[in-house]
Point group: C2
Chain length 513, copies 2
């Protein structure tokens, strides 16, 4: 929908003034993480995960990666592709991984730290579908993709762009990544995730990120710009194309997040203990591979452990099991000194109370687990099959509210306001006191989405629920979106790179170079 069409659309709009939101900030979580695993339970999960790597191994479908691990001392069965690593080798490799790293996009003010107390939020990545309440559900296309980027760029609480907030089905698969990278680099100035399905897609992203920063690949390796998420095909399988991408990223010093996709009952045994052990084995296997390829390469420990509905096999998110997994996985990541990524997903088909409470449960699990990155933090609907415009707004409110909750408290003599208490007296009110007047504009979090009017005023304003108000807000944000400035020479170089590579891929196929 163009700006003009949106302006003409019948939906009731908020006043034209700017949408209230928090300023850009690095969110830090200084709360002590929760622990669902007692120390001896944590040891047991570690021990079983090492047994999985030693006794059963991981099927590594990429032959080059198998050779690399064999050279490092792993036991490789080249017929089945199964690689077994003993715990000494695993522990030696993962010990080389940095405990924190920084990713720097073209706008250096949007650089992000991963590790320690940092907490970063990304858009959803990967849904083939898109939904909003004006236009309904549809297959995602490039303009939807660009609108989702504009929303993300407009919302300060979204630190980072996930891998394709929707996967644009109108673009040819072999060159789609060029267009999505180009859109991401021009419409946003944020760190973004690359599509590392095969070496070439990863390399194109790395080169374009270097162009956008005006730097060489060596400089980019010194100060990495991009990340990719390598999903493990759980149980115990790393596929060929993703492993190629992993190797390309690691070789160029770009960040890799290893995320086993471990739905209990389907991809792992039905217990959380087993799921954690399997997740740990798979994640550490991938982490070790990055460090054997390039010691010190930025890497994250990823978790995506939830359960399925055992009656239907449907995935569930934001469940008690998912919440506990988010907390326990943080204990594991900290045990190995690795930055930690998890997710605040939900299983609702609509932006309703369920979408909100499941997302909150998983988000609190992530925060209490000490996550450094919450992937899919904004826009995830239908178990990840759809990117929802209204869910982006709902999630931005949840994330802002969490960021404010994590902000340390100011406690000083002035803040206690004793003179105001004396002035007001028993049964009085504080609205008019000098202490209040000096502080009221910034005293409290101003919500993006919540409506605190009393019922009469709320009814007079149309009885609009949170989802309907979210429709107003995303429209307003898109109307007010401003493209971040880019040096025309850089833009030209990006355009030329895409044109050159598109032509080459169209004539020769994507392949490996």
């Amino acid at each position: 929908m163009t700006r003009e069409r949106r302006r003409r659309s019948g939906g009731r709009r908020q006043a034209a003034d700017t949408v209230p939101q928090l300023p850009w900030r690095h969110v830090e979580n200084h709360f002590r993480p929760m622990e669902v695993l007692r120390p001896e339970q944590l040891d047991a999960v570690h021990d079983y995960s090492m047994r999985i790597l030693e006794e059963f191994g991981i099927e590594l479908m990429n032959a080059e990666a198998r050779s690399i691990l064999e050279g490092a001392g792993a036991e490789v069965d080249h017929t089945t592709g199964v690689v077994r690593m003993d715990r000494g080798l695993v522990e030696e490799a993962i010990a080389r991984a940095p405990s924190t790293f920084t990713l720097t996009p073209r706008n250096r003010e949007r650089a992000l730290d991963f590790g320690g107390h940092s907490l970063n939020f990304t858009t959803v990545g990967g849904p083939p579908g898109v939904h909003d309440c004006l236009r309904g559900r549809r297959t995602g296309n490039h303009e939807d993709y660009r609108d989702l980027l504009r929303l993300a760029q407009s919302l300060n609480i979204i630190h980072m762009i996930g891998n394709q907030p929707t996967s644009p089905q109108d673009l040819p698969p072999t060159t789609r990544h060029l267009d999505t990278y180009h859109s991401t680099l021009t419409l946003t100035d944020r760190v973004f995730m690359l599509t590392a399905v095969g070496e070439q897609r990863a390399l194109d992203g790395i080169r374009m990120a270097a162009i956008a920063r005006g730097e060489t690949l060596d400089q980019l390796a010194e100060h990495p710009a991009a990340m990719t998420v390598i999903n493990v095909n759980s149980p115990r399988r790393f596929d060929d194309a993703l492993t190629e991408g992993l190797m390309a990223m690691a070789r160029h010093g770009q960040a890799v997040t290893i995320t086993p996709f471990t739905l209990m009952g389907a991809m792992t045994p039905v217990t959380l203990a087993a799921a954690l052990a399997q997740q740990n084995a798979e994640a550490l296997f991938g982490v070790a591979l990055t460090q054997i390829i390039r010691p010190g390469a930025p890497v994250m420990y990823g978790s995506f452990t939830s359960n399925v509905d055992m009656r239907t096999g449907a995935p569930a998110f934001g469940t008690p099991e998912n919440t506990k997994a988010n907390i326990a996985s943080g204990q594991l990541a900290r045990r190995y000194g690795l930055p930690y990524r998890t997710t605040n997903a939900n299983a609702s088909n609509v932006v309703d109370a369920q979408a909100a409470y499941e997302t909150e449960m998983a988000l609190w699990g992530a925060v209490m687990g000490g996550a450094n990155l919450v992937y899919h933090a904004a826009g995830w609907l239908e178990g990840g099959l759809t990117a929802s415009f209204e869910k982006v707004i709902l999630d931005a409110e949840l994330l802002q509210s969490m960021a404010e909750t994590l902000t340390p408290l100011a406690v000083d003599d002035e803040s206690f306001g004793l003179e105001a208490m004396e002035e007001v007296g028993p049964g009085g009110h504080f609205f008019g006191t000098a202490h209040t007047m000096e502080r009221y504009k910034t005293a409290f979090y101003q919500p993006l989405l919540s409506d605190w009017q009393n019922r009469e005023s709320w009814e007079a304003a149309g009885s609009r629920d949170a989802t309907q108000r979210a429709t107003d807000i995303w429209q307003q944000l898109l109307d007010q979106y401003e493209e971040p400035a880019m040096d025309p020479a850089v833009r030209e170089e990006l355009d030329a790179y895409v044109a050159r590579r598109r032509e080459r891929i169209q004539s020769e196929g994507l392949g490996s170079e």
Copy 2:
């Protein structure tokens, strides 16, 4: 609405089988509480709260209570009613309060502990309005009250009945408490909150609780049955009738929760530090009064600190400030060794995403604050002006999900399921393994409200959102409600007590005896 009318109603109904829910359980929270106040900040809040009590004092409108405190060493201004207590007196008094206590209703299996790791949930208490999606919004009446009790009794996760889940406006104010106590004691077997507005309403509740247990008032004092919440008219005022109720409860050894109603910016200065100091002063003043009246009487530290919307003055709940207050108040309660009550309120006018996320934020704050009692945990809507049938169901899901998240993890050799991992192999799935088959029925939390169907199945089932499904569920629960058994002699005695007291009040007024 009668059962028959409900059966004829047009709403689509779930299958007639039992609503899935967790069994009755005592929820325990063994997580280490979060801390938003650093140790020196906690000291500062304490110190300022003591200065408030020493320098400004509390207006205590009840003359008898003033005399009692004067006798104990407080400084009383009988003209203004202001009572100042020095910190030595306060600390000496509150040191007598028990760190845990138990309340035992007529069904001894529903006894509840307050303090330590215990976590109890009550219905909403007090709304003058009622709402459900079939019949809309209305003034609460006795049948609504009874339906809300039936819902609470049907839901195992609701441990306790708040003070009048709706306040039945069709009953005369002077005898209303007799009817509500009678309904509560016959329709539920849970601990319940008394209406302690004035001595007589408290005494009627205490006597009726004794009748229901078949015991004397002395036996009841030995093993208390009931609780009341004394709201402070913040800033710094205890009203006459509630203080009468407080004294009656304490004298009879029944539990009192002292809850300052401290909305930052209105009833307290605009900063959280000031609100916490004022809340602490007011709460400890009330706690001290209970202990001066009856050393060792069961008492709780209550918190209801949130903020207002500074543009409109409307109260807000589930905000970052409210969430932090819930956490910080737990630090204060633990400092004094007192059981801790707080709330998971929200400010939405409708059971939507906002209602869900605000409730979750406040609930997580309560849990991370180590709350022993979450009041208004089920049914609160419109800032507490309305009891919502759908919100009861939504909240029951949130509370169940939290209870499951707090359940310790089983980690033993069998749970790791290594034989299943070996059996399944890379890329396989675990649905059919023996390890899964033995465990799948009870492996995961089965939701009350969440719908995990894929979009196609969900659409085929009518595209019903969480709020619409909640309408189905409360109807089903009311249809299946069973009144808990009661000894006919006890029932007769309760009936007779109500008849006798009604007649007396009608002829002589409520008054004091």
